[in-house]
Symmetry: C2
Subunit: 683 residues, 2 copies
């Protein structure tokens, strides 16, 4: 350990303490304990160029214990990482200025409480909810392997990046990390390294009170390489651990670091160190103990920034510029592949990617939207080579398998494969998909809608990060039938619709599915949830109905009165649209003028100009009936005080679908009856 090593490590610690103290809020424990490990990784190993933090072949560093954000902010500041704008242009200003550090956890600071992707460059993933970061890192490592398989050529190693994630005891306790570790071990992701900050202290006390398993043995059982660092302050040991990781070619690596939470402070090794500022006196005492000049806050000694510039800075610049030169040659040798890579980096699609999307002829028998979606997904993925994904062990049911020639399975012996077997691990699956999206691939994953509950925290993060992960959910209602209430979603749609920035689509037939995918595949910054039926739905006869392209506006008039205003509007989504159409026919037969509005995506409809919304749902028509096989929560926004909602008010039941439709009132008779009563009440 040179003087500059020590000085740098303590500078990080000092900045963290000061930032947290200034905010009087934050988590000093891990930054103090793990500063040497983070320092060693960044300064000596990480292949990352602060001058170009989105260079595609950079090593990724994910701070899974996101509460230790001050550690990351200090590193980003000291290494001089530059900011990047939303269109992926590297800017002149730093990602984290000293003023940001000084305004840690204040409004508009680039140093928020937890790392936020897109808000501060150098943050590879939004973290904080424990376990998410490590699971996301698995998706990044998969993406790295896949990019290498697809784009590397002899003499052109474009992709060989590693993925590091720093995790605490909390990450290790969360089930999602077990799911992700099991998958990573199976997939032999040797480019993945989790660093386990084993300080054995959590908020309630020593881990002895609840977490006494043998983590190293567990990871060996998961198929991992495990190496231990006995002293988190020993840079040589830390270095050897990372060399061990780099030398490993068949397994992911867990570096188990015995560390001391709040190292050097009066509260070292105690739960108090976790999430409470040390206080002015504690900071002073800690600085004294560590040999940090106690009076100067936010002190950065001369020589430290230069030292980082000579380490990570010089190494990163050299690697990055060599890569760019290599890429220039690659562009000449392999122009089509280079073009793909450039599009990937800009989140653009191949020209004409949607020309081969199918259209479906009218068919009263029709097909399930999971089936039509499977067909469209295949067309999308064939046109966009970097669309890949998998299912949480339900591909034969969710119909998300890519079946065209060469799609293959992604496995240890086939890194070209585009079908992932994610296992019965929904939460991990969604986070893995997020990791792939953060690497700018276009991933999807699938499961039954009921199991979106398992994955919700990762779905939320896709929305918060503004990344276009595609969450595909089938078996979307009591349409599940015999499997019964444990498998019949009721409240899931409401929870997803309430999530800011998530586009939730529930298409009504095969052609709405096509239009849904046309919107979804082109998304650059928004995740989408596709809500699809298990049961067959008629392919609507568009010659007599509104065009399915209306999906792009969220809601559109599907069937209407010949002229004038309707007396009543029937709103529906997905499998209940044919029901609304049948009720419309009944009402028409009775001389009641009704309109049917298909409403596959509330979020897009809400973004339309007021004129369009008023044209679809004229304010003068207050007799409105919404029909959806789900909780009614939220529909009042569209049906208003005069309206009614035919929906689910209880859990479902186990029975063949037809019986369930009658039991729960999803029949044309009931819908038209409700509509009739509303019309009569008006007159």
């Amino acid at each position: 350990m040179t003087d500059l090593d020590t000085l740098s490590v303590n500078t990080i610690r000092g900045l963290c303490m000061d930032a947290i103290q200034q905010a009087n809020s934050g988590h000093p424990g891990t930054p103090m304990g793990m500063a040497p490990v983070a320092y060693a990784l960044w300064q000596r190993f990480l292949r990352f160029d602060p001058a170009h933090p989105i260079w595609p072949n950079r090593d990724r560093f994910v701070l899974s214990e996101g509460h230790a954000s001050a550690l990351l902010w200090s590193l980003l500041h000291l290494t001089g990482v530059r900011a990047v704008d939303p269109d992926y242009e590297v800017l002149g200003r730093p990602a984290v200025a000293l003023d940001d550090l000084k305004s840690f956890r204040q409004l508009d600071s680039h140093c928020p409480g937890h790392p936020e992707y897109r808000w501060t460059s150098g943050v590879e993933a939004t973290t904080g909810p424990l376990g998410q970061g490590v699971a996301t890192s698995v998706g990044m490592a998969i993406a790295g392997q896949w990019l290498a398989a697809r784009y590397n050529r002899e003499d052109f190693t474009l992709f060989d990046f590693d993925v590091y994630a720093l995790a605490g005891d909390g990450c290790m306790m969360e089930g999602i990390s077990a799911e992700a570790a099991s998958l990573a071990g199976h997939l032999q992701l040797s480019n993945l390294c989790w660093i386990y900050d084993s300080n054995r202290v959590t908020i309630e006390g020593h881990t002895d009170i609840t977490f006494t398993e043998d983590v190293a043995a567990r990871f060996l059982a998961h198929g991992w390489n495990v190496t231990t660092v006995a002293d988190a302050n020993d840079l040589d040991q830390i270095g050897r651990a990372f060399h061990t990781f780099r030398a490993e070619t068949e397994r992911p690596t867990l570096v188990l670091v015995h560390s001391h939470i709040g190292y050097g402070s009066p509260v070292e090794d105690s739960p108090q160190a976790h999430g409470t500022p040390f206080g002015p006196e504690g900071v002073r005492a800690t600085k004294q103990a560590l040999g940090i000049p106690p009076e100067a806050d936010f002190h950065i000694p001369d020589g430290v920034p230069d030292w980082f510039a000579q380490g990570i800075g010089a190494r990163g610049a050299e690697l990055r510029t060599a890569w760019e030169k290599r890429f220039d040659a690659y562009r000449s040798a392999h122009p089509a592949l280079a073009d793909e890579l450039e599009r990937i980096q800009r989140r653009e699609l191949p020209d004409g990617w949607d020309t081969a999307l199918p259209t479906f002829p009218a068919d009263p028998k029709g097909l399930a939207t999971r089936d039509s979606s499977g067909q469209v997904l295949n067309a999308v993925a064939e046109a966009i080579p970097w669309v890949l994904g998998g299912s949480a062990d339900l591909a034969p049911s969710t119909k998300t398998r890519l079946t065209f020639g060469g799609a293959g399975d992604f496995q240890p012996d086939d890194r070209f494969g585009r079908n992932l077997h994610l296992g019965v691990r929904e939460h991990g699956a969604a986070a893995v998909a997020n990791g792939m999206a953060l690497t700018k691939l276009r991933p999807y994953w699938s499961g039954f809608l009921i199991f979106s509950d398992y994955a919700k925290a990762a779905i939320r993060l896709s929305a918060l990060m503004e990344i276009p992960t595609v969450h595909i959910f089938t078996h979307d209602s009591i349409g599940v039938g015999e499997d019964g209430p444990t498998h019949q979603p009721v409240e899931q749609l409401a929870g997803l619709r309430a999530t800011p920035g998530l586009l939730v689509f529930r298409p009504a037939d095969a052609n709405e599915v096509v239009e849904t995918w046309r919107v979804v595949a082109a998304l650059r910054r928004e995740p989408a949830a596709l809500i699809l039926s298990r049961q067959a739905l008629p392919t609507l006869d568009r010659s007599r109905l509104g065009a399915a392209s209306g999906v792009a506006r969220g809601a559109y008039v599907l069937a209407d009165v010949p002229s004038g205003e309707p007396e009543v509007i029937l709103l529906a989504t997905g499998s209940e649209v044919p029901l609304a159409l049948a009720a419309h026919d009944e009402l028409t037969g009775e001389g009641i003028a009704s309109r049917v509005v298909s409403m596959p995506c509330w979020e897009l409809f809400d973004r339309q100009p007021r004129e369009y919304r008023a044209a679809v749902l004229p304010p003068t028509v207050t007799a409105r009936v919404a029909v959806e096989g789900a909780s009614t929560l939220g529909w009042d926004r569209y049906v208003g005080a005069g309206g009614a909602v035919v929906g689910m008010h209880t859990f479902g039941a186990s029975a063949p679908l037809k019986q369930l439709l009658t039991k729960f009132g999803f029949t044309p008779e009931r819908v038209s009856q409700v509509a009739r009563e509303l019309v009569e009440a008006m007159t």
Copy 2:
């Protein structure tokens, strides 16, 4: 293996095949493979009396791979388990009649697609969503240990039951099972036995494609005893495994059974066997291969029911009647404890349990509802000795620790403890709480509201099972402040409110917290979610406002105009109620007549008679403003088309709370401005 053993095992298999074939829907794979294991357990080991399936000291059997329900239905039928009514009276009719089996998966059959608690007696937990059953079983085992510690006396072993859970590869892959296994290992629950049906086949194929970890080694790392059954058809091996479990005194046991999915059928060992009926020919071929008379459907050979009666029936009756006799003597020796146990079994509370609930004096500074809830919870738990629970490593923040004398920690060396350290394992924590509730204790668990996402699937099951699990969630809005958007709930309230049967409470001050607990503690069949603030909220001056007892009606008038009807109604919950009151004062100052409605529980309000609802929200007053620091989804039901909602439309941000309130518009000025505009628009 006697002839009757073989006959019984094959009778089970035949019934399962026939039921599934009759329904043309269901999962034959596991019943065929695991019938001998289930048979051996039930016939030779399970201490369960079919004549009294809710005898408190029965061994519990949880079918975690719930899709294998036909196996359970066959066992319940063959052993003659009797039905139990909702008030815990054992009935004369069987839980599963032959007609139920014949109408497997049909409406109103007591053999639904997955086991449903309370619908079919003998079902100890609703299962199907994978991993839930095993995690729930951990809560049952904890309850068993706790009941033994509290109620057993020298000469009176009232509780020594074991808990078995049958799990498949899917359960093992789900993260929740890793969380639960880690906790069970730590707690040294030697009364817990998981039987792992390792058939190595899932829906997408052989587990080789995604699940290659060493499960036995993983469980050893979790601190478990692991024993293996190499042949699922070898009753002696199976018996030795269960003896090994019974002999173990310090660890939970995993019995790893190498089994064959769809054993005996043409699709044995293939994914097809999992969830597809064999078809008439497949059934015939299988029956032939196994020596089951192929022509007679639902065939129960003479002698088989008697055989079960001599096995599990006789053993169970003897144990149960001996227990009842013992309990009679116990009642004489320990009348107070016996009275507790009888109340527990009937889900009744001690007389006068709520007399010691605190009341809080008006206080403009007030306290956080997490703090007042902590005080009330302690009063509740002190009055009701079987209230116990814990936190997912957040007790110091959620304030749910029981601190009165003797509360203690539940640990391997203290089974009396009432505080559980559940670890950073929210999903497992909620399922563990469900398991305790199924054992009729009154459990709670706590975490931050944002982490309800992690636990959602288990929260849902508490509602579906109609058990009174108490889910306590603090840090309920942007009130979280500096921790930022990763920790600030937005959509969680909507998702919880949309869940049928879950009561969601967001009390506004300390006295609403008291009234919330008064309702919640007395619930017998409904789970509740308590949504509590991190930040201090004023304790309202009730001398000038509506009484907090209005909580019991879900919503009530808190502040009103002196006489006549208001021009505008302000609706709010939790931390936004003081905001509404401030806006009310502003409006009053301007001569605008407003009413403030506190609305802590939508579900209870919706159940009130129309007259009450109309009195609180007069239909004539259409100018209504709802204020809540969450997604606006659902509020339109109460504010109507003429109303407005001040809520969250994006994720939050990291900053001190005051800055966030301004940024997101939660100020009295904004609320009164919105109200003013509505009133002006009306006139």
